[in-house]
């Protein structure tokens, strides 16, 4: 992507001859080009799938954001240790299934999506807080891994030489190591360390999970950025900056970084759904979160009850599918919108 793309010229070109000399102000306005980001956004706005996905996502984000308000309004709880929450014995039958609501009783507004068997938390509350966890983990992991990836990619591509060799080797090293294995090795250690204290365990698990996702999530972007920088640094504007003595950090962040917006945005938009899926998947395997509500954990909790209580399983499966599907499709649209080769 160039600083001044060919599109700017085309956009700014106006047929002459609208009578008389155009004023200076008007002329400047007519020549105002669109930046590549503006072009991409205009493309996105015309993409129906992107619009639908954005609306769905906005809805899910609002639900997650206002989870405390919604749960308070319904007076429902995901945390049964909360003193205000009904104890499991109050809401469950002796066989562990809920005494009110599905699967054996009719719909009730007290628990719109029913209760979880055996543990007795409210499904809607758990789902909302699970959504919150999903989005929080994915957002944190995306932001951190983007920072790490961009920084290392910039350094490797700009420095060349030994530093580039080292960073490239480390990148390849991490690429050949599946993240699942890292979590496999780390999860039990965290659990055994914080076994006594459940609150600390939950927090430690959350940080470990984000840490693992970042540690195994930065390589793709680092490689991409390195490649881009390798070609960009041979361009005239960088050479000019070097000649007039612009300090290196300014070249990196003020000259190079603005030209890397497209790959970074695309990587973020495709990284989010990948991290959502990874978090839910690890928690599903019992390697991720146990003390914090997680959609993946809800799936693994609900699987044994499927034959008697299918709704219990459908809820988290539907939530994960909806979230990853809309994030992924939006990510694809963003990629297409930022790709100058796509023609529509």
């Amino acid at each position: 992507m160039s600083v001044v793309g060919p599109s700017d010229v085309i956009q700014g070109h106006e047929p002459a001859g609208d009578g008389g000399m155009p004023t200076r102000a008007r002329r400047r306005k007519a020549l105002a080009g669109k930046s590549p980001t503006q072009i991409a956004l205009a493309r996105l706005a015309k993409d129906k799938i992107a619009i639908v996905c954005s609306v769905v996502l906005l809805l899910l984000v609002l639900l997650a954001l206002f989870a405390p308000v919604i749960t308070r309004a319904f007076d429902i709880y995901w945390d049964i240790s909360d003193p205000a929450a009904p104890t499991p014995s109050q809401v469950l039958e002796y066989d562990g299934f809920p005494a009110i609501g599905p699967p054996f009783h009719g719909f009730t507004w007290d628990h719109p999506l029913g209760l979880a068997p055996t543990v007795g938390y409210d499904n809607l509350a758990y789902l909302l807080y699970g959504l919150r966890t999903s989005l929080l983990v994915a957002l944190a992991a995306t932001v951190l891994s983007t920072i790490v990836g961009v920084t290392l990619g910039l350094i490797a591509g700009f420095s060349r030489g030994v530093l580039d060799k080292i960073i490239s080797f480390v990148t390849d090293l991490f690429l050949s190591f599946p993240y699942l294995l890292g979590m496999l090795a780390l999860a039990p250690i965290v659990v055994s360390r914080f076994q006594g204290n459940l609150d600390d365990l939950a927090r430690a698990q959350l940080f470990t999970l984000i840490g693992i996702l970042v540690v195994f999530g930065w390589m793709g972007l680092a490689r991409l950025i390195r490649g881009q920088v390798l070609s960009l640094r041979e361009r005239e504007f960088i050479q000019a900056a070097e000649v007039i003595g612009v300090p290196t950090h300014r070249i990196l962040f003020k000259e190079l970084l603005p030209n890397l917006v497209a790959p970074i945005v695309v990587s973020i938009s495709l990284g989010l759904p990948a991290f959502v899926a990874a978090e839910a998947g690890l928690s599903f395997l019992g390697l991720g979160l146990t003390g914090t509500p997680s959609l993946g954990k809800m799936v693994s909790d609900a699987t044994p009850y499927y034959s008697d209580y299918p709704q219990y399983l459908w809820l988290p499966v539907a939530a994960i599918t909806l979230l990853t599907l809309s994030l992924n499709l939006l990510g694809d649209s963003v990629r297409d919108a930022f790709d100058p080769r796509t023609r529509r």
Binding site: L184, S192, G281
Partner: protein, 331 residues
């Protein structure tokens, strides 16, 4: 060529060694006492019992020393004291804290199940993916092509384990078509082996083949637009030969790269597959060994095994590269 392979082997070995060192450091130098949960396992944990366990696990020695013992066990026989004394033949991966069986033997026992899933699944998705992609590229712009791309985008957007779980729910629980998905050895009953694996294969195939169909479609469209394809057609080569012998050969190289890079994904996929379809393979074994008390020798063995597989797969792909594509020169 030889120099390249040697260099790659060295870096591959480095990855594996670093991985195992990292694991040891985490487990033995980690913030928790690894002997404690084991001590709680059978009855009350007395200080004497804890002391014996600590001694047996080698926790009184430095972590470097323990790593040395473990690494030495890979090449020579090793005596392990854990309650009773076990002799563990080389290559020794230790004694499972839980079953007290040799980890290597258990690994070899569970290997066929994992191998069947991975190799069968990979074969299915590679073949159907490339086939579908080629057909879509030939019929570019038709409804079939558009439908295929749409389905592919949709399925790729859903996590693999959700797809596998849905298949298991419907085909195994609801309709009871493939109720028993546990592993049957191939040598005993090939039919039962294949029948039980149909659903796992289908799950892997469905997710991955759609992705590969999309890659191959893109590559094939590019290849079919090349000059050599036009030349071949002009020479009067039959369409089938043009597509398969000329275009596909050019298009397949990047697909093989993706396949190699995807190997780690395939491996983590088998963990989900085994967990969902309840197949007794290495992935499920690894997950089970993580429940407290952590069965460290099993975790170390499975992680090491997976790391070796991924590294070797990447190496093979790089070498294959130069065989398929004469333009690639390894240096």
């Amino acid at each position: 060529m030889l120099g390249y392979i040697v260099r790659r082997l060295v870096s591959a070995a480095l990855v594996v060694v670093l991985t195992s060192m990292f694991l040891f450091l985490l487990f033995f130098k980690g913030p928790s006492d690894p002997a404690r949960p084991l001590c709680d396992l059978n009855g009350k944990c007395t200080p004497e019992k804890l002391a014996i366990l600590t001694e047996d696990l080698g926790l009184n020695d430095s972590v470097v020393h323990q790593y040395g013992i473990w690494a030495k066990g890979l090449v020579s026989d090793r005596e392990i004291k854990f309650g009773a004394t076990f002799t563990c033949e080389a290559p020794c991966l230790g004694i499972s804290y839980r079953t007290r069986g040799e980890v290597r033997k258990e690994l070899v026992e569970k290997l066929p199940a994992t191998l069947s899933i991975a190799v069968g699944g990979a074969t299915i998705y590679l073949v159907t993916g490339v086939l579908l992609g080629t057909i879509a590229a030939r019929k570019r712009g038709t409804n079939m092509d558009r439908g295929l791309v749409a389905v592919s985008v949709f399925i790729s957007a859903i996590p693999y384990y959700v797809v596998a779980l849905l298949l298991w729910i419907f085909f195994s629980l609801q309709w009871k078509w493939f109720e028993d998905t546990s592993y049957h050895p191939l040598t005993e009953d090939p039919l039962a082996w294949a029948w039980a694996l149909v659903l796992p294969w289908f799950a892997i195939g469905l997710t991955s083949s759609t992705a590969y169909a999309r890659y191959s479609r893109g590559q094939m469209i590019e290849a079919l637009g090349e000059d050599f394809v036009r030349t071949a057609t002009a020479k009067g080569v039959s369409e089938r030969a043009v597509v398969i012998r000329h275009a596909l050969r050019a298009a397949i190289v990047p697909i093989i790269t993706i396949f190699g890079l995807d190997f780690a994904f395939l491996l983590s996929g088998t963990v989900f597959t085994e967990q969902i379809f309840q197949i007794d393979g290495i992935g499920r074994w690894a997950i089970q060994s993580l429940r407290s008390p952590v069965d460290f020798p099993v975790v170390a063995a499975t992680v090491l095994f997976a790391a070796i597989i991924v590294v070797v797969a990447n190496l093979i792909v790089d070498i294959l590269y130069s065989v398929i594509d004469p333009r690639v020169r390894l240096s």
